[in-house]
């Protein structure tokens, strides 16, 4: 087993993830979300440190982190982390890439509206005003 899979953060992430699943089953959703968020942070820390020549390990830890952020209802961080992992070419297995892309597509729809890109402004925000002014100005110009 490599150093990242035995990293204390990966071990702690697994423990916290299990505690979260148990809390979820018991109906304690606040505790479950708290544990999932903590697990995600632990996994993310290790996933980002895995060298690119270990794509299977990097993918497995990244998927675990993104899934935990999502189960904590922190979809923004889930998407951010997935995009960050995807940004480095060749550092993920094919399954890892496919799965993270699927997660980005799914969770991006659930990110709160404040995080969505702003709506583009209309090309002419004062179109009506300009039309009215233009009409009023036209007779003067003609005179």
């Amino acid at each position: 087993m490599n150093e990242w899979l035995t990293d204390p953060r990966a071990v702690r992430g697994e423990e916290l993830g299990y505690e979260a699943e148990c809390a979820e089953r018991d109906g304690d959703f606040a505790r479950a979300r708290d544990r999932y968020r903590a697990a995600a942070t632990e996994y993310a820390g290790v996933a980002l440190s895995v060298s690119p020549d270990h794509p299977n390990t990097r993918s497995a830890l990244a998927i675990a982190a993104v899934a935990c952020f999502a189960r904590a209802h922190d979809f923004g961080r889930a998407v951010d982390l997935a995009e960050r992992m995807l940004a480095q070419p060749g550092a993920l297995s094919e399954r890892g890439r496919t799965e993270l892309l699927r997660m980005v597509r799914t969770y991006a729809l659930l990110v709160e509206p404040a995080r969505l890109p702003p709506k583009r402004a209309a090309r002419s925000p004062h179109r009506m005003r300009d039309v009215v002014r233009g009409r009023l100005a036209a007779p003067k110009d003609a005179a």
Partner: protein
């Protein structure tokens, strides 16, 4: 009875007697079946597939455990293990196994994933083992 592809093995499962207090504490039938299925799968993977568990995976990550071949060369050679247990109902072990293999087949480019299903509702208990490469 263990069905591994076309090969059948016979194995003995020793059940440990539990006290009434423990039985009441673990009264959730679904949970007990799920955890029993995981325990049997991990043991079967070790005894018959020569695989050891590396890490337990989170829900929604495409499998239940990461495993590796005992003595595998390279420390990044990871495989997925999907575990399942059947407590009662009409679903057959073979059907559940094909469902689990279909789940693993979403990523055919990966090293072969393994699925192990334990049916506690049959006598004797049935354990079916499958891998994508068996398909």
């Amino acid at each position: 009875m263990v069905q591994h592809g076309r090969v059948q093995h016979h194995a003995l499962i020793r059940r440990v007697a539990v006290e009434e207090r423990d039985r009441a504490w673990k009264a959730d039938h679904l949970k007990a079946t799920e955890q029993g299925g995981e325990a049997m799968a991990v043991l079967t993977a070790y005894r018959l597939l020569n695989r050891v568990v590396v890490r337990r995976l989170q829900t929604d990550t495409g499998a239940d455990y990461l495993v590796r071949l005992v003595g595998a060369v390279g420390d990044d050679s990871l495989e997925r293990l999907e575990c399942s247990g059947i407590g009662d109902g009409k679903e057959t072990t073979a059907h559940r196994l094909s469902t689990k293999l279909a789940q693993l087949a979403r990523y055919p480019d990966e090293p072969p994933g393994h699925a192990i299903v334990t049916n506690f509702g049959t006598t004797p208990v049935e354990i079916h083992i499958g891998a994508l490469s068996d398909e």
